[in-house]
Symmetry: C2
């Protein structure tokens, strides 16, 4: 068990923004909420996955809905606690710890805010290893573990508890409820035991996010190349450098859908890139060739600040670096690709690991 200070919270938020692949809510707002919670309730406590006993229950708080709504409705206060109470009351056993459902964007920070508020520890793990735009897209679903009972709450005092036959139905019912709640809902679900966590979770991902964030911070302080440092700590690849020349974006059923077009700069001059997203960046195409696709991570970095840019903040004229990072091994299994691969999002392309795409690019060049 360890307590997080404000610098560690900032590091986690910065790292989670990289892993958020453009989605999961604005990590800056998540950080503000976490710093406020630290001030109001004391430091959040982080525990190792093996500190949860086999039959103890932990659960995951998530903000469900359009990430753009985070900007307008961000409070992470009463509604999250309300979702927690609704689920905890509904379960046979008490919830002893919290965990991030996704390690990406503000949703990575949400358990730390709620944990500080409720004096509950947060497990160093998550259920994706990145951000994803739908509830069923977790490694728990790969292992057949249910998201139900799944509680949703708003800031008015409305709560809903879903019991669904599978996690696709959780998503299907939660989405319109989030829309009615005002584009976003505080939710609490995936109540799992310690043994289920160790079987199906993505372990150590909170400290992985913190490590990424710390690497960025230290590189900046030491005037080192932030991108090079990032590639080192993540095992990722630089896919492109360019300027955003067009962004198409629409809100549909609570998602931010769209695409960004980039013209190459520096050694990419004359090349172009298309990045398509549904809350998260899903596919990157360079000069008509696939450069990376979901479940691998695609993150746009602001060339001026070195910070990750969420899909709802993309604007014409931004100079960006596009990073690709290999996803967690669970997503590269047959079940993982079927659940969270490009086919799920309607893309008529087979998943190719980013390392293989990089290799192919190098071979084309030589």
């Amino acid at each position: 068990m360890r307590e997080l200070d404000s610098q560690q919270l900032r590091d986690i938020a910065r790292g989670a923004a990289i892993l958020g692949t453009g989605g999961g809510g604005d990590p800056y707002l998540g950080t503000l909420a976490a710093l406020q919670a630290l001030k109001d309730f004391g430091p959040p406590r982080v525990i190792e996955p093996d500190e949860v006993a086999d039959d103890e229950v932990l659960a995951m708080p998530v903000m469900v809905g359009a990430p753009v709504a985070f900007i307008e409705k961000f409070s992470l206060g009463p509604e999250l606690e309300s979702a927690f109470r609704a689920l905890d009351k509904h379960l046979d056993r008490r919830i002893v710890a919290l965990m991030s459902a996704e390690m990406g964007g503000a949703n990575s920070i949400v358990p730390l805010v709620l944990g500080a508020r409720l004096q509950l520890p947060v497990v160093d793990a998550d259920a994706i290893g990145r951000a994803y735009p739908e509830i069923q897209l977790t490694t728990l679903t790969i292992h057949g573990i249910s998201a139900s009972p799944f509680a949703l709450a708003d800031e008015r005092g409305n709560t809903t508890i879903l019991h669904t036959i599978d996690n696709f139905w959780t998503e299907r019912l939660a989405r319109p409820i989030a829309v009615e709640f005002g584009a976003i809902a505080a939710s609490m679900g995936f109540a799992i035991t310690g043994s289920q966590l160790r079987q199906a979770g993505v372990l150590g991902s909170l400290s992985y996010a913190e490590r990424i964030g710390r690497t960025i911070r230290e590189a900046r302080v030491n005037k080192q190349d932030v991108i090079a440092a990032l590639l080192g700590v993540t095992g990722g690849f630089e896919l492109f450098r360019g300027k955003i020349i067009d962004v198409q974006r629409r809100i549909e059923r609570g998602w931010t859908l769209g695409e960004a077009r980039l013209d190459g700069l520096d050694e990419y001059a004359g090349a172009n890139m298309l990045v398509q997203f549904q809350n998260e960046n899903l596919v990157a195409i360079r000069d008509g060739q696939l450069a990376a696709c979901v479940p691998d991570l695609i993150t746009l970095i602001d060339a001026d600040t070195g910070e990750a840019i969420t899909t709802e903040r993309l604007r014409y004229g931004f100079r960006v670096i596009v990073l690709g990072i290999p996803c967690h091994a669970q997503w590269r299994t047959e079940k993982g690709i079927e659940l969270g691969g490009p086919g799920h999002f309607g893309y008529d392309l087979g998943y190719v690991p980013i390392e293989d795409l990089q290799q192919a690019t190098r071979e084309r060049r030589t």
Copy 2:
């Protein structure tokens, strides 16, 4: 306590169709389900409102959604029981009796089907005294009684429990869930005590529906004027006789919305009527003058069969008689008119009791 036989079930269904004002689901299908339940589980039992003790709990099963979906998805089996179990498990006290939320259309029969199935008595009462297209439109809402917890279930095994700050929010959240479930959801809510029932319910309405049904049946057997008999037992008025010359109908957010235009026949030759509906008939306008409006009841009767016609069965060429029936006194209070009057449905007209409109018509003619 009394048991219902198949003829009494048919009488209730026929009477409930009249009180359904075109909505509440097809009573013919409700009757089939009730007869099947009688065969499978034995006769449903009906109890008087004062047979429920002050602190005993009863609750109301309702099919929520587009009545047209009753036609395709009518089963009233596992999904209703599933909604019942979800609510019963969620409450601190066990549910000892069922009750109709609305006395109109198939929803009047639903508790009898479930009561036979679960061996639970059904109270001779309802919470509207007619049919209404939205959950919050009950006399319980007039008295500030909550619909929550409110359980919804589908035939797949999905369930949802809503806890809302008011009954408008129950409606607002239940509607999109019903849409996701396939346009209709089995639901169970309005868990109230015996004393709340006696304070806020519409008492004796099940036997009122039965009396109306019996009157129609006996008039037909005795070759008497069915319409005259109906007017006698309901205290209603004949508003029009005519032929349907146009029906506009669309499904929107789980409702059947639209209007029917009628050309007059017999003593109404040369006159016309417009009937507008949202699941239920809401407004009847004769020659440009208001003839009746919600919360008073407007029911279209098939001139050939003497049976009520639901809004989703209205067709060009039907010869119909339009009946208007005064609503329950609770709906004529200031709160009642505000909740369920024409203004709620977007009509820019003040409620005028049907008796007054009839009086005005007579005065115009003389």
